[in-house]
C-alpha cells in the first residue's frame, strides 16, 4: 500500500517528488500574490511621494536609520542561515538543521525587538500621523502621508515576520522529533521560501523608508 511506503504522500500524487514539487510551486504562487499585496503599498508610496515630494521626503528623514540598516543585515543573515539549514537536511544532518533554525529564530526575534524599539522611538517623537505631530508647517502634510505609509508597511512586514517565526518554531519542533530527512523535508523548503520572501520585502522597504528621503 502506498501509505506505508511514503507516509506523507497524499493519494492524488504519483510519488513524493511529484508532491514536493507541487508544494513548492504552490508556495511560489502564494508569494506571487504577496508581491501584489505589497505592490499596492508600493503604488501608494509612489503616488503619495509624487504629489507631496518635499513633505514626504521630510518625513523620511525622521526615520531611525541605524535600526533600519541593522535590521536589514540581521534579516539577510537570518535568511542565509536558514538556507544553510536546508542544505544540511539535504545532507541528512537534522541536528544542524535544528541549530540553524534556532539561529534564524534568534535573528528574527532581534529584528522584531529592534523594530518594537524603533516604533517606541517613533511614537515618543510624535511621528504617528494622527494626533499631535512632530513636523509643522508646509511639510507636515507630506510627512503625515509618509508616516501613514510607514506604519502600515512596517506593521504588515512585522506581522509577516511574526507568522514566519511561528512557522519556524513548528519546523524546529518537528525537526527535533526527527520528522525530516534527506529523503523528505518538503516543509523545510517551503518555509524557507516564505522566510526569504519576508527578507525580500524588507530589502525593498528599506530604501523606500530610510534612504530615498534623506540627503535632499
Amino acid at each position: 500500500m502506498a501509505e506505508e511506503i511514503a507516509p506523507h504522500l497524499h493519494f492524488q500524487y504519483a510519488d513524493t517528488g511529484h508532491q514536493e514539487e507541487t508544494a513548492i510551486a504552490g508556495m511560489w504562487l502564494f508569494l506571487a500574490t504577496e508581491v501584489l499585496f505589497f505592490g499596492g503599498l508600493l503604488l501608494g508610496w509612489m503616488v503619495s511621494r509624487h504629489w507631496q515630494q518635499a513633505g514626504f521626503d521630510a518625513g523620511g528623514r525622521e526615520t531611525v536609520l541605524w535600526i533600519g540598516t541593522t535590521n536589514l543585515v540581521v534579516l539577510i543573515t537570518s535568511s542565509f542561515v536558514y538556507s544553510a539549514g536546508l542544505g544540511f537536511i539535504e545532507a541528512d544532518q537534522p541536528r544542524r538543521l535544528v541549530q540553524c533554525c534556532a539561529v534564524t529564530i534568534g535573528l528574527g526575534t532581534i529584528f522584531l525587538a529592534l523594530k518594537l524599539y524603533e516604533w517606541h522611538i517613533d511614537l515618543s517623537e510624535h511621528l504617528f500621523p494622527a494626533g499631535p505631530f512632530k513636523l509643522h508647517g508646509s511639510e507636515a502634510d507630506g510627512a503625515r502621508l509618509f508616516w501613514s505609509f510607514y506604519f502600515v508597511a512596517t506593521g504588515l512586514h512585522a506581522l509577516h515576520l511574526t507568522v514566519g517565526l511561528g512557522v519556524l518554531c513548528w519546523v524546529i519542533r518537528e525537526a527535533r522529533k526527527g520528522a525530516y530527512s534527506a529523503a523528505w523535508h518538503t516543509p523545510v523548503e517551503v518555509v524557507g521560501l516564505y522566510w526569504s520572501f519576508v527578507d525580500i520585502v524588507w530589502i525593498v522597504l528599506y530604501p523606500m523608508i530610510y534612504l530615498v528621503g534623506r540627503g535632499t
Binding site: 502506498a2 510519488d15 503616488v47 502621508l145 501613514s148
Partner: protein, 548 residues
C-alpha cells in the same frame, strides 16, 4: 479511452465503494472533510444562503423605488440596503459562485485527479469564507454601512456611518478564501492532470477556471491592501487617501478598480466556460474554435487587468489615462465577441436539444451579448460621461452578472446536478423556470437602460416623478424574477429526495467526470485514467444518435 493502473492504486473496485455523499455520515465527517466534492457541497449551501440574503436586499431596493419619494422612509436605511446587496452579491455570491461550487466539484474529476493539490487548503478556504461572511453579515446587520460596495474614499474613511471597519475586515478575510481557491486550482491544473491530458485536451471549462484563478490570485491581494488602508484611515482619521493632508482619493479608485474590474471577469469567465461546455453537449457537436475560445479566456484574464481606468472617466483622472484606458477597454471586448461567434458556429448544423441547461445557456448568450454591447457605450469616453453612475451602468452590469453569470450558474447546476446529487431534477419545471427567469430578468433590467439614459443616477433613495413609470416596470419584473429564483430552490431540494436516480452519464456527454458513477466515490477514480483521445471533443453528428 483506455485506462491503466498507477502506483497509488487502491484496492476496492468502484462499485463496492460508497458514494462521496455517504462516505461518513456524521456532521464531523462533513465539517472536517478534505474531499473536494464535499467542500463543493458545503460551499453550495453557503452561497445559496448568501444569494437569498442579497436577493432580499434587492427586493427591498426595488420595493423602495416604486414611488418617487421612496417607500422606505429613511435614506440611511436605503443606503445600507444597497450596500448590503452589493457587498453580499459581489463577494459572497458572484466571486465564489461557479468556481467554488461547480469548479471545486468537477475540476479534479475533469483532469482525472483524486483531489485538488492542497485539500486542506481547500477546506481552509471554506472556513475563511464562512468566517469572513459571518463578520460581514454581522457588520451589515448590526450597524450596517452606507458606503456602497465600492467604499470610495474619503467618504468611507471619514464620513460614512456604521460599521465600515468590520465590514472591510469580513471582505478581507473572504479574500484569502478566494486566493486559496485560485491557488489550488492553478497548481492542480498544472500538476495533477492525468497522463495524456494535455492542455488542448482539457475541457474548455478548465481553461476558464484557470483564467479565473489567475485573477483570484493576482487581483485579490491588491483589494486586501486597499481595504486595509481604508480601515487604517478610518480608525486613525489619517492615511494615504486623505485629501486634507494632500493624499489622493483617486489613488483609492485606482487600487480598488485594479481588483474590482478584473473581479468582473472573475464573475463572468466561469460562466463563459460553463456555456462553452454545455452548448456542444446539447448541440451534439464538437466545440467550434476550441483553441480560440480557450485562449480568449486567457486573453480576457490578462487584458482585464489593463482596463480598470474606464471606471474613472469622470473621476478627475488625467485625460491621457482616460484615453489609454478607453482604447484598452475595447481590446478586452474582442475576446468576448470571439466566444459568442464560436458558440453560434457550434450551434450551426448541430442536433440541438432544449434541456434546461441548454435553455439557460441560450438565455445566457442573449443576455451576455446585451450586457457586452452596452459595455461598449460605457467604454466610449463621451458616452460614458453621460451614462456613468446612472441606471444605465446598473442595467449593464446586471445583464453581465445576473443575466450572464447567474444564468450560467443555473446552467451548470442543472448540467452537473445528476453528477453531484445522483438524482435527476424535474425537467419540465426546470425549463419553465429558465424561461421565467429570462422574461423576468429582461423586464427588470431593460427599463433601467432607459432610466439611465434619461439621467436617473444610481444609489438614489428618491427620484424625480418622471422616472416613476420605468421604475414600477422594473420592480414588477423583479417580482417575477424573485419567483423564478425560488423555483429551483424548491424543485432541486425536492429532487434530492424524490428525483429519479441519475445514470453515470445522463447527457451522453464526453469528459472524465461522466465516466465516474453518479455520485462519484471519494477517490473519484479507482485507477488513474489515461487520456488517449486525440482531442477533448464531442461526438460528430453522424456518429451520435440523439439520446434518451
Amino acid at each position: 479511452m483506455s485506462q491503466t493502473a498507477t502506483v497509488n492504486e487502491r484496492a476496492a473496485p468502484a462499485h463496492e465503494r460508497p458514494s462521496y455523499l455517504f462516505d461518513g455520515v456524521t456532521l464531523k465527517s462533513w465539517l472536517l472533510t478534505t474531499d473536494h466534492k464535499r467542500i463543493a457541497v458545503l460551499y453550495m449551501i453557503s452561497i445559496t444562503i448568501f444569494f437569498f440574503i442579497g436577493g432580499s436586499a434587492a427586493a427591498l431596493i426595488r420595493y423602495n423605488l416604486i414611488v418617487p419619494e421612496g417607500m422606505i422612509p429613511s435614506a440611511e436605511t436605503y443606503n445600507r440596503l444597497f450596500t448590503m446587496h452589493g457587498v453580499i452579491m459581489v463577494w459572497f455570491f458572484l466571486v465564489p459562485s461557479i468556481p467554488v461550487t461547480i469548479g471545486n466539484f468537477v475540476l479534479p474529476l475533469m483532469i482525472g485527479a483524486r483531489d485538488l493539490a492542497f485539500p486542506k487548503i481547500n477546506l481552509l478556504s471554506w472556513y475563511l469564507f464562512i468566517l469572513g461572511g459571518a463578520v460581514a453579515l454581522y457588520a451589515l446587520f448590526v450597524g450596517g454601512a452606507d458606503t456602497g460596495w465600492t467604499f470610495y474614499a474619503p467618504y468611507s474613511t471619514n464620513y460614512a456611518q456604521g460599521n465600515v471597519v468590520l465590514l472591510v475586515t469580513g471582505i478581507f478575510i473572504s479574500g484569502f478564501s478566494s486566493i486559496a481557491t485560485g491557488l489550488n486550482f492553478i497548481v492542480s491544473i498544472h500538476r495533477l492532470r492525468a497522463p495524456g491530458m494535455t492542455w488542448y485536451r482539457m475541457p474548455i471549462f478548465l481553461w476558464s477556471l484557470y483564467s479565473t484563478s489567475v485573477i483570484y490570485v493576482l487581483a485579490t491581494p491588491v483589494l486586501a491592501i486597499t481595504l486595509l488602508l481604508v480601515a487604517f484611515e478610518r480608525v486613525f482619521h489619517v492615511g494615504v487617501f486623505d485629501p486634507r493632508i494632500g493624499g489622493d482619493p483617486i489613488l483609492f479608485q485606482h487600487m480598488f478598480w485594479f481588483y474590482s474590474h478584473p473581479a468582473v471577469y472573475i464573475m463572468i469567465l466561469p460562466g463563459l466556460g460553463v456555456v462553452s461546455e454545455v452548448i456542444p453537449v446539447f448541440a451534439r457537436k464538437e466545440l467550434f474554435g476550441y483553441k480560440f475560445i480557450a485562449w480568449s479566456s486567457v486573453a480576457i484574464a490578462v487584458i482585464g487587468f489593463f482596463v480598470w481606468g474606464h471606471h474613472m472617466f469622470v473621476s478627475g483622472q488625467s485625460l491621457y489615462a482616460s484615453i489609454v484606458f478607453s482604447l484598452l477597454s475595447y481590446f478586452v471586448a474582442v475576446p468576448s465577441a470571439i466566444k459568442v461567434f464560436n458558440w453560434l458556429g457550434t450551434l450551426h448544423k448541430g442536433y440541438i436539444r432544449f434541456d434546461a441547461p441548454m435553455l439557460y445557456a441560450l438565455g445566457f448568450i442573449g443576455l451576455f451579448v446585451m450586457g457586452g454591447l452596452t459595455g461598449l457605450f460605457l467604454a466610449a469616453l463621451a458616452a460614458d460621461v453621460d451614462l456613468h453612475d446612472t441606471y444605465f451602468v446598473i442595467a449593464h452590469f446586471h445583464y453581465i452578472m445576473v443575466g450572464g453569470m447567474v444564468s450560467a450558474y443555473f446552467a451548470a447546476l442543472h448540467f452537473w446536478w445528476p453528477k453531484m446529487s445522483g438524482r435527476m431534477y424535474p425537467e419540465m419545471i426546470a425549463r419553465a423556470a429558465a424561461l421565467l427567469m429570462f422574461v423576468g430578468f429582461n423586464l427588470t433590467f431593460f427599463p433601467q437602460f432607459i432610466l439611465g439614459y434619461l439621467g436617473m443616477p444610481r444609489r438614489y433613495h428618491s427620484y424625480p416623478p418622471e422616472f416613476q413609470v420605468l421604475n414600477v416596470l422594473s420592480s414588477a419584473g423583479a417580482s417575477i424574477l424573485a419567483a423564478a429564483y425560488l423555483m429551483p430552490l424548491v424543485y432541486l431540494v425536492w429532487s434530492l429526495l424524490y428525483g429519479e436516480r441519475a445514470p453515470a452519464n445522463p447527457w451522453n456527454a464526453k469528459g472524465l467526470e461522466w465516466e465516474t458513477p453518479s455520485p462519484p466515490f471519494t477517490a473519484n477514480f479507482a485507477i488513474t485514467p489515461v487520456v488517449t483521445d486525440g482531442r477533448y471533443n464531442y461526438p460528430k453528428p453522424e456518429t451520435s444518435e440523439a439520446h434518451g
